[in-house]
Amino acid sequence: MAQIDKLKEVLEVALLTSSQPLSIEDLTKLFIGKTDRSTIRMLLDEIKNDWQEKSMSLVQVASGYRFQAKADFTEFLMRLSPDRAPNYSRAVMEVLAIIAYRQPVTRADIEKIRGVSLNSNTLRQLIEREWIDIIGQKEVPGRPSLYATTKHFLNDFALKSLSELPELNSSLTQELSDSKVDENREEIQEN
């Protein structure tokens, strides 16, 4: 029993000192002998419960587990670092949303949805932030790059997977299906 408690402490300390989320895979490396993934998962659940009443909480995001301050404290912590990450422009957020919800997309797809040409600075900003990357080339003339969101994006938005993205506005999706667009007609127009 004491041994299990030790394991739990090791996991806790590893998670508290890591700047990156740690996956179950990472956590197994803490121990020399083989440790069951299920044991680790169970211990993580226990840790989560242990911290329930405390100032930090253990959360699971795309690339693993991490400790983060509970939302109630953000307001206070903010005062320590007033110059926090700047807000992105509306254009950048729209491009991010299109890539997040419609991935993989090409630059042309993004331009088609937004109806304006895309400033290449916008994509660069998102790539530098490691929220998007190029996952391949579309097999059409010019072989344009296909963009998709990264794990880092999910981590930063505290999401486990893309399916956890907020749902699209349902009244709008309803209107879209009501709009009865004849796909063939669109084809003819494009040609």
Binding site: T17, S18, R66, E94, F157, L168, L176
Partner: protein, 263 residues
């Protein structure tokens, strides 16, 4: 832009009653839009703004009205920010095209699925969906903005490990040093005065005395220094090339004989 969406949701009241719909022909003078110049992300954004502001049913857009408002706005914009206008002008053309197609009499077979507005409406809704999603994303808690990650300090113990060295390796290293030092030794290079021409003469003289001489008699490898052997060999080749001597060998690996050439 957020403000517009909010104000649009809370409709004004008259005599305590909500106004369900604004007049269809509500006209917004372009001057009123001037201050929002930079707040539109493109023609679709502007159209959505006009549609939502006027409470138009997106599935039944009054094209004449909307086109008029849109074109007025774009005309205004052209004066102030010409470089922005290209995408907007394209949309003007598209709106007018749709309007003119609606004016054409429909062939009897066509049903209302072929509404010329359909494609525009689809685009507008798709864009509004993404615009909406972008705002939601922006309001989600983000690491570095609203989420603070635990990062306690721990002292990494960095023990310096020294590599083991055996006496053999040390000796090996010393040998390498010696070897390298040798390469920096200075050499005196002296020119040895050996002339190929001189040897050509010597060889010809010998052959004049005896018609046929074995190849190896020209080389005394025990006594002669290497440069001399080389020059001698070169002389033989040179003589052969000039046709002054002939080199014969009966069969492979038998003795090679030199004799004077025909000339």
């Amino acid at each position: 832009m957020t403000e517009f969406i909010q104000t649009e949701k809370s409709l004004p009241k008259i005599y305590g009653e909500n106004i369900e719909a604004l007049p269809q022909d509500l006209y917004i003078p372009p001057d009123a839009l001037e201050i929002y110049l930079d707040s539109f992300e493109g023609p679709l954004d502007l159209l959505i703004y006009l549609i939502r502001k006027n409470n138009i049913d997106i599935l039944d857009i009054p094209m004449a009205n909307l086109t008029l408002q849109y074109v007025n706005y774009v005309e205004k914009m052209k004066v102030i920010k010409l470089e922005l206008a290209a995408d907007y002008l394209l949309m003007s053309a598209m709106l007018i095209e749709i309007k003119s197609r609606m004016l054409l009499p429909k062939p009897a077979l066509e049903d209302d699925e072929d509404d010329p507005r359909a494609e525009l409406v689809k685009k507008l809704i798709e864009y509004e969906l993404m615009k909406d999603a972008a705002e939601n994303l922006n309001q989600m808690p983000q690491v570095g903005k609203d989420i603070m990650i635990a990062q306690s300090y721990f002292e990494r113990v960095t023990e310096i490990k020294y590599p083991d060295v055996s006496i053999d390796e040390l000796f090996e290293a010393w040998k390498n040093v010696i070897k390298r030092v040798k390469q920096f030794e200075q050499h005196q290079i002296s020119r040895s005065e050996l002339s190929v021409r001189e040897y050509m003469t010597i060889i010809l003289r010998k052959l004049n005395e005896k018609d046929l001489l074995e190849f190896s008699t020209f080389f005394n490898s025990d006594k002669d220094p290497i440069p001399k052997l080389v020059v001698c060999f070169l002389a033989i080749l040179e003589l052969t090339k000039e046709g002054l001597i002939k080199i014969n060998q009966q069969s492979s690996s038998s003795a090679i004989y030199l004799q004077l050439g025909d000339s």
